[in-house]
Amino acid sequence: MSRIAEKFEELRRRGEGALIAFITAGDPAPEITPSIVQVLAKHADVVELGLPFSDPIADGPTIQEATDRALRAGTDTDTVLEIVKEIREGSDVPLVILTYFNPVLQFGIREFLSRLAHMGGDGIIVPDLPIDESGEFRKIAREVGIDTIQLVAPTTPPSRVKTICERSSGFVYVVSLLGVTGPRERLSELVRPTIKKVKRLSKIPIAVGFGISKPEHVRAVLDAGADGAIVGSAFVKLIKENLSDVGKMLEELETFSADLKRATKKLAKFK
């Protein structure tokens, strides 16, 4: 069983949902990322690291800016793999890479996935690689022991949801809304019916992301039947607001992740 699957299983036994925290690797600088992950992992159950790409079409302004900061700080694919290695040396937290297809293609699919596995990474998400084009990619990932987490959108028809769920490993990433990443005041109306649809068709855990930025959002998606909630832009915003004071940045990230984690406990469905 993969580190991700084990984590979801452990949480299920405890009656908790998963808190999955996303940040962009190398933002604001590669040497700070391991410390950020260290504080996040005190509360988050899984950590997603964005491998920055110059043209992040699935991301809103918050993560676009983080991508720019990371690239300007000299973050490249080698750097991100080193970051994974450093984190793994001090922590067992499941680590997922989120990136776009071109950086992986240029590094070499096999080369990248096997180095990622070797450094201690557990999963990968590539939003611009559609399921029909990902056969070879998934085959290699399976061989080297990396989970491939696929995305489902509110507009995905049920027959396709089924295929995507069957071809995902680790968990299925449910996009909560029509649009790009970024904090929102309220949850999309589409989120509950989408969770229901995917939950019915998936044999593995499902986690909801895009626009999830408050403890009450986390609670709501878990109550609606999701196994995990993914929070990204809200963390990235805290990084941006504290660029001049890393100590304060880490403190705020820790407090916020603790608040979010609290919302995943004592779920009604387990009572």
Partner: protein, 372 residues
Amino acid sequence: MSALEELERYYLKIKKSKRFQRELQALLREYGGRPTPLYHAKRLSELIGSKLYLKREDLLFGGAHKLNNTLGQALLAKYMGKKRIVAETGAGQHGVATATAAAMLGLECDIYMGVTDMERQKLNVFRMRLLGARVIPVKSGSRTLKDAINEALRDWTTNVETTHYLLGSVVGPHPYPMIVRDFQRVIGRETKKQILKHEGRLPDAIVACVGGGSNAIGIFYDFLDDPVQLFGIEAGGEGLETNMHAAPLCAGSEGVLHGSRSYVMQDRFGQILQTHSIAAGLDYPGVGPEHAFLKLRGRVKYDYVTDGEALEAFRIVSKTEGIIPALESAHAIAYLRKRASKFRGKLVVVNLSGRGDKDVELVAKTLGGSKD
């Protein structure tokens, strides 16, 4: 993904609809002014030493070939029941052509444009606004065409139920390269008929500029199976050795950008590079996947000219023919001069894809005080 599948399904159906095709043909003819002339440029021919015809897409309504595609897609959007169009624009030509089609068909229209391009093409920004479109400045990334595409894609993802994304070139995810090519094919279809009428034979060569590649594929497509040499000319900017260019087929490598696999300009980690061309419409780090295929098959020869060579051609065409060409199209003419020996004595067609009014201010600034 499901939006792309819906678009493909609908398009393949509508393509066979007689009613749709009749309506589109009528719009192209009565609103757009097709067929555009194939003009024998005698003085330019003499200067270059070949028999040169210009396919006058600059005379299509709006001043560029772009309207072929925007009329087609806007009509498609209307048939699909969409109320709103979003589009990206680089030079502003596609934005203007989109705003034009949207106004005429009564669709709401938002155009994404990089702030760098808005500065370079102020007149087109004003035209789009006059035509009732909203021009949304894009401040992310390199602030040019590629970033405008990113933003338009993000908008489409958000508003997919009401909105059609009217992509302007043969790039992006399938089915766009196919749809845009089909709507631009009219250029080559007409050219073939016209050259046979004028000359009684096919041309020896056809030359077109390539940014995303829509005017080029449009004129090439109906000649792919004929014994005609095809040349696609990319923007060499300040020269390939300077990295200040937009020539992915000549100097890029295989990669994935905006949902298609083709040649792109990128670093060794796959980060997309900034491009440069004096012609905003060619300033894009990728190129249509069908051009990549035609390059690999060896069917089309892809080459480049520099900013300087294009500028010189811009002046020469203006002076010898009284036609001010778009800087984009000037690249194709410049190639005839650059490789004159290749074309000597040959029957050549150049796709004059747009007119140069939009570029006059920029050219005046670039050429500075030179008076001749």
